[in-house]
């Protein structure tokens, strides 16, 4: 009999918890509806396209090539990113640069977002800190696979 009572108590307690949530949240929703801005909100939901959460400082988004002072990418086409990439999504073609101090520049630097797993290993592998994943661009959907092959060397 004691255990039956415990069961009933717990059943009621469960209902009480959900009911409390309902009424408390409902109160804040109602206050908000009538224009009373409270510090607490009725829901934790973030209405994404209208309001976006700030990305974390280490969040990895679309890649970019950091430019040199003159605007060209600072990539030296060493292909270490291509080497380390676990999804084999990077394609780099090197070209000769007339400046003997630069020598090697990417003629084509393509990241295939169809394959990319956003692990960030390319960023870590880069010896000249040329590739970074800090654009904050996270809307990367496309209707065409070709559109997901992003050329990073030309904006």
């Amino acid at each position: 009999m004691g255990s039956a009572w415990t069961v009933i108590k717990e059943i009621l307690r469960g209902s009480a918890i959900t009911a409390r949530h309902f009424f408390v949240n409902m109160t804040f929703h109602t206050l908000r509806l009538f224009g009373l801005r409270t510090a607490r909100r009725g829901a934790v939901t973030v209405q994404y396209p209208e309001e976006a959460k700030p990305l974390g400082p280490r969040h990895r988004s679309l890649h970019r090539l950091r430019p040199r002072p003159d605007g060209r990418p600072s990539c030296v086409a060493c292909m270490l990113c291509v080497t380390v990439c676990p999804s084999e999504c990077l394609t780099v073609e090197a070209a000769e640069d007339p400046d003997p101090e630069v020598q090697k520049v990417p003629a084509r630097f393509v990241v295939d977002l169809n394959r990319c797993c956003f692990c960030g290993l390319c960023v870590e592998a880069c010896p000249v800190d040329a590739i970074r994943m800090d654009t904050g661009e996270i809307r990367l959907a496309a209707l065409d696979r070709k559109a997901l092959e992003v050329r990073l060397d030309k904006p």
Partner: protein, 500 residues
């Protein structure tokens, strides 16, 4: 040849036997003990300028150079003591003090001795506070070679190679001490057909080749041994290719061809013509089967071989030998030639067998021969007496089988067209495209030598077997498979063929 005298010595406490006259470095290498070195090269005279190979020899107060110390009976060498290790580290520190941090853009990275040795023996932080000496980084020295003086460690391998191997001596060391640099003598660039070896022997990335420069990185390449098919020397080469992903448009399959050591034929070297063979594998290939000169991707080589055999079969039995003509070439392996002989000569009694190959060029230097085809000795060994095709005899045949695309080099296109039009039914099996493609009833692509296995007999009569170093393109069989299918179609196959 008498057996060379051997001496016994100990290296790192291990008893080692070495031929008398070799140096400690080679003896250690043979025993599996690697001694780091830059300037020493087994194909060149000892220079002893890099000081990297210092070892401790019992009884001598100072460290000695392993490359210039000749082995003696009872010599006790130690390569792993603290003194040796410190010496290596200090030598590396001196070399690296002036070495640019170019590894990301250096073609040698990944196969660079300096990189490897720093990893094994250096690992010291830089202590140089002064700015680095800046030198010319892009000096063309001729034949598509580019010299980077910042990367150079002044081992003088290149200088010695040009003096001792080719005897041309275009490069020298200029200035003295800190300002020493490699250079060409006023206005005379490196110009010989062995210059490509400079890239191979340079221990760092100081000499690079324009053809390979910036194309890929060394660690992406797969190296497979093969035999160079571009002259009758049969040099050992390694075909360095990159298979599979990522293959962008215009990306190469074979990035370079480098020399492979074979003391019996080419030592450590090869000529630039052989290196150029990279293009022979990729450029100008017949990629799609042709039917009456029009691309027909549906035409398979088995169908073409079957059709050719059927065409021969339709000739009355007594006339087959007369009315069938075959054009072979010197790139066929011994196995393929033997099969051709069994089928056409022994089987059909065919007498119209010709050989069409590249025209001979000029012999040059120690390796390059005048014959630009690898296996004419093999043809002789198979029982053929190679002779050039005669257009009249070709035109008289009812079925003409052509292997290789070189027939047009000996007869002009219009001449060939006149001879073959309305004459024989022509079947072409060629790796490369040529004027003949449009004239043949069926033209089917086949493999180049790098894509097949077999045996070549070189100009000195040395038979060398080789394995395929590249995967052939789909639908591009070795001629051996075509010959086998032909023999089967003619009812001559007695089994036992291995398809090569």
């Amino acid at each position: 040849m008498s057996a060379p005298k051997t001496v016994r010595l100990t290296i790192d406490g291990r008893a080692v036997e070495a031929d008398a006259g070799t140096n400690v470095l080679r003896a250690a290498e043979k025993a599996g003990i690697a001694i780091p070195h830059f300037c020493f090269h087994p194909g060149l005279d000892v220079e002893g300028s890099c000081r990297m190979c210092l070892v401790e020899i019992e009884g001598l107060p100072k460290l000695e150079l392993a490359c210039s110390t000749v082995v003696r009976e009872g010599l006790a060498v130690r390569t792993t003591t603290e003194r040796v290790r410190r010496a290596r580290r200090d030598v590396l520190e001196f070399l690296l003090a002036e070495h640019p941090l170019d590894c990301p853009i250096c073609d040698k990275a990944g196969e660079c001795r300096l990189q490897d040795y720093y990893d094994l023996h250096g690992r010291h932080p830089g202590r140089m506070l002064e700015p680095r000496e800046s030198r010319a980084k892009k000096v063309p020295i001729g034949r598509g070679l580019i010299l980077d003086r910042e990367r150079c460690v002044l081992c003088t391998r290149c200088v010695r190679f040009l003096r001792q191997v080719t005897g041309t001596g275009e490069l020298g060391v200029f200035e003295r001490a800190l300002r020493s640099e490699i250079g060409i003598f006023d206005g005379t660039p490196v110009d010989n057909r062995y210059a490509g070896n400079l890239v191979d022997i340079c221990p760092v990335g100081a000499i690079t080749s324009e053809d390979f420069r910036f194309r890929t990185r060394a660690w992406f390449l797969t190296r497979r041994p093969s035999i160079c098919p571009h002259c009758s020397r049969g040099c050992a080469v390694s075909v360095e290719s990159r298979a599979g992903y990522p293959l962008a448009e215009g990306e190469r399959r074979v990035y370079r061809i480098a020399a492979r050591e074979n003391p019996a034929v080419n030592g450590f070297w090869m000529c630039d013509l052989g290196r150029e063979g990279r293009r022979d594998i990729e450029a100008g290939r017949l990629s799609v089967p042709l039917r009456q000169g029009r691309p027909d991707p549906g035409l398979s080589w088995t169908e073409a071989a079957g059709e050719a055999a059927a065409a021969i079969g339709r000739i009355p039995a007594g006339e087959r030998g007369e009315k069938t003509a075959v054009v072979l070439n010197g790139r066929l392996t011994c196995e393929e030639l033997a099969r051709a002989r069994a089928s056409f000569v022994d089987g059909l009694g065919c007498r119209n067998i010709f050989f069409a190959d590249s025209r001979p060029g000029r012999a040059d230097g120690p390796l390059l021969t005048a014959e630009r085809t690898p296996n004419l000795r093999g043809a002789v060994a198979a029982g053929f007496s190679p002779r050039l095709p005669d257009l009249g005899e070709l035109a008289a045949a009812r079925v003409l089988l052509v292997f290789g695309s070189r027939l047009a080099e000996h007869h002009g296109g219009p001449e060939l067209a006149r001879a073959l039009s309305g004459g024989p039914r022509t079947f072409l099996f060629a790796a490369h495209a040529g004027p003949l493609d449009g004239l043949a009833e069926m033209a089917v692509p086949v493999a180049v030598p790098a894509e097949k296995s077999g045996t070549y007999i070189n100009i000195d009569g040395l038979a060398q077997a080789f394995d395929r170093s590249l995967e052939p393109a789909p639908g591009g069989p070795a001629e051996g498979a075509v010959l086998e299918a032909l023999a089967r179609g003619l009812g001559l196959d007695r089994g036992g063929g291995d398809g090569r």
